[in-house]
Amino acid sequence: MQKTDKKSRIKLRLKNINKYYGEKRDIHAVKDLSFHCRDKEFVAILGPSGCGKSSTLRMLAGLEEVNSGTIYFGDKEVTKTPPSKRNVGLAFENYALYPHLSVYENIIFPLRVKGITEGEIKKNKRLHELIEAFKIDKSTLNSYPKALSGGQAQLTSLVRCLIREADLYLLDEPLSHLDEEMRVAMRTTLKIMHNKMKKTFIYVTHDQLEAFALADRIIIMDFGVLQQTGSPSDIYAKPVNKFVASFIGEPPMNFLNVRTKKEDSNLFVHGGSYKLSLSNRFKNKLKANTKYILGIRPERVHVSSNKNTFSECVMAKVNVFENLGEINQLTIKLDEETIITEVEPNIKFNQEDDIYIHFDIEYMHLFDVNTLVCLDDKL
């Protein structure tokens, strides 16, 4: 897999991009950002509101000036190229539809601009495919933007973006105004379209589930700074810091406050009432008698009502048992802290039941309490 990735062309490269806002340039919205996208890649920029993800996308589109740094499309520098010359497809959260044009006319606008005749437009295969795939029905096609729901307007804007023959498609929360059911359905449609079109997509979202589902690679930002970039599975398995670890995953990663202690030259971590062995991965990484934050994903926490199931386990109490159909979710109280885990649908517990927890130590993360950096060996 790695080999083919290296071979594919770099479609886009950002080098040390900075963006300031405010009269005195005192708001540093994007800080020294560098990343690249390969040809045909689907890249999601993920982060909470105000992290600089939309500013980044707008700079790529040429809608915002770059204060310092350079942007390349392929080998060509476009840092100062006007938006119209960049040949990018754009879809934003606030649709920007032409109010005097019908939905259909809005959608075909990019084709008209290119001088394609009405006859040819009618025969355009992609047009019909997109309209059908994104479920824009006849009556919607004939209506005007002011009559549309937020969701319909967004889909119109998205289809208008994808109809263009662009080098790069830039999408900013293009599904955010759809209701949940439709959003999930259209997410799949977008993914299928990306597979068919074989183009480079950059997708901005605050929704980790969306980023996970769609992206080949995710770029996570916080406070204008790139935190981590990698495939969804890499980011999930090897978060670089506590922010990434807590931002990704549903149900979220469990965090516990622990302290290291040395016994007969072996290092252990101690919580309130328990003691855990450590994986060899942490050898030489940790200090004795030091506080750390232990992180472990719900699926790496195993439970049993029988003490003898595990060689090493911790006793705790069930706080909440939830049947979610496909899976059951358990919330466990361990001293004053909470642990969430999932069990198969045939396994049941009651509130206040005693429960024995086993942490799969090979999948345990430890974070520095001050820097919040993950101390795992990079695999």
Partner: protein, 373 residues
């Protein structure tokens, strides 16, 4: 004696029937969730219980006493709406205390008792540190907890909650879901809880009442709603991505049954001792199979369905895979394996016949549940 007994209630608005001959009982300390799509009559049912809507017919009993004609403020029920309204000029403590300051309750709650009650509930909701803050200093989730706290400080006989956490973001909603369940259990509340989110309904409800067009479709525990559903409507309502449905013909072979999927040119073979299946011989049935009960293979397997793997969407610890099996027909599969190398390639899907469901194609009623369900 039931805490709440609902007997044949109906509610018409002009010519529209919003609730139709609905009956159910709720025990003391029990939580019943009302689950249904938008417009199913969930909120109207709740409003009828609260006394905010007059019944067209039927009766409601609270501790065996008929309350059908008693005004809302004398029903000993507390209602919580989705669009909560906190008083902006009052802090959290004052907002929570408000319902107990009503003239009719002043005798019951003196200053000391009031503070004790508020602190108890604030502790449960983990908002003790926020008691002195004003609503505009709270996050969405904290406002929601405060509003919930205002409902919980009263000790009504039944709590009526209408989509209390629906407009929170997904992550916060999932956390609050567990917390609410825990609070209901700790306070031993009797709760009627309206939601359109099946996970919330299954998780929080001791029993789940599925409602469609004002009528009861199924009332049962979570396991039954999930794997012994009464009909295809319930099957589609619970599940994300939803259950896959195929049309087939049931044939009876020697010692086994066979569902012929004509469009997919394959047969699904299974064994069962169910006598009632015989009357479906050579008839059309609907086959339902959940996304996690289908397996994907890159090579042809007997009794499998051919298609093209057209999308892979990563979830936290699994993958949601879309397979196009014929023009416009997509099948969803949930898998622990990422089939990245098979993207845009031909694949074969095997159905776990011991976890499938069969439905009557005419009325959608359930005919058969796989024996491993």
């Amino acid at each position: 004696m039931y805490r709440l007994e609902v007997k044949n209630i109906s509610k018409n608005f002009g010519k529209t029937t919003a609730v139709k001959n609905l009956s159910f009982n709720c025990e003391e300390g029990e939580t019943i969730t009302l689950l249904g799509p938008t417009g199913a009559g969930k909120t109207t049912t709740l409003r009828c219980l609260a006394g905010l809507e007059e019944l067209t017919s039927g009766n409601i009993y609270l501790d065996a006493k008929n309350i059908s004609n008693i005004p809302p403020n004398h029903r000993e029920l507390a209602m919580f709406f989705e669009n909560y309204a906190l008083y902006p000029h009052m802090n959290v403590r004052e907002n929570m205390a408000y319902p107990l300051r009503a003239p009719s309750r002043r005798k019951e709650f003196n200053k000391e008792k009031l503070d004790k009650r508020i602190e108890e509930i604030a502790g449960l909701l983990q908002i003790t540190e926020l008691l002195d803050r004003k609503p505009n200093e709270l996050s969405g989730g904290q406002k929601q907890r405060t509003a919930l706290g205002r409902t919980l400080v009263r000790k009504p006989k039944v709590f009526l909650l209408d989509e209390p956490i629906a407009h929170l973001d997904a992550v916060l909603r999932h956390r609050m879901r567990g917390e609410m369940k825990s609070i209901f259990q700790k306070l031993k509340c009797t709760v009627i809880y309206v939601t359109h989110d099946y996970r919330e309904a299954l998780s929080i409800g001791d029993r789940i009442l599925v409602i469609k067009k004002g009528e009861l479709v199924q009332l049962g525990i979570a396991e039954d709603i999930w794997s012994k559903m009464n009909n295809v409507f319930v099957a589609k309502l619970a599940g994300d991505p939803p259950i896959n449905i195929f049309k087939g013909i049931l044939h009876i072979g020697e010692g086994n049954f066979k569902i012929e999927l004509k469009k997919q040119k394959t047969d699904i073979i299974f064994e069962s001792k169910k006598e009632n299946l015989k009357k479906w011989e050579e008839k059309e049935v609907l086959l339902g199979i959940r996304p996690n009960n289908i397996t994907i293979s890159s090579t042809k397997k007997p009794n499998s369905i051919n298609g093209k793997l057209s999308a892979i969407e990563a979830m936290s610890s699994s993958y949601e895979i879309t397979v196009s099996i014929s023009k416009g027909k997509m099948i969803k599969v949930k898998s622990k394996i990422n089939f990245k190398d098979l993207l845009n390639k031909q694949v074969w899907l095997s159905i776990d016949s011991e976890r499938m469901h069969l439905f009557n194609p005419q009325d959608g009623e359930s005919i058969y549940h796989g024996r491993n369900l």
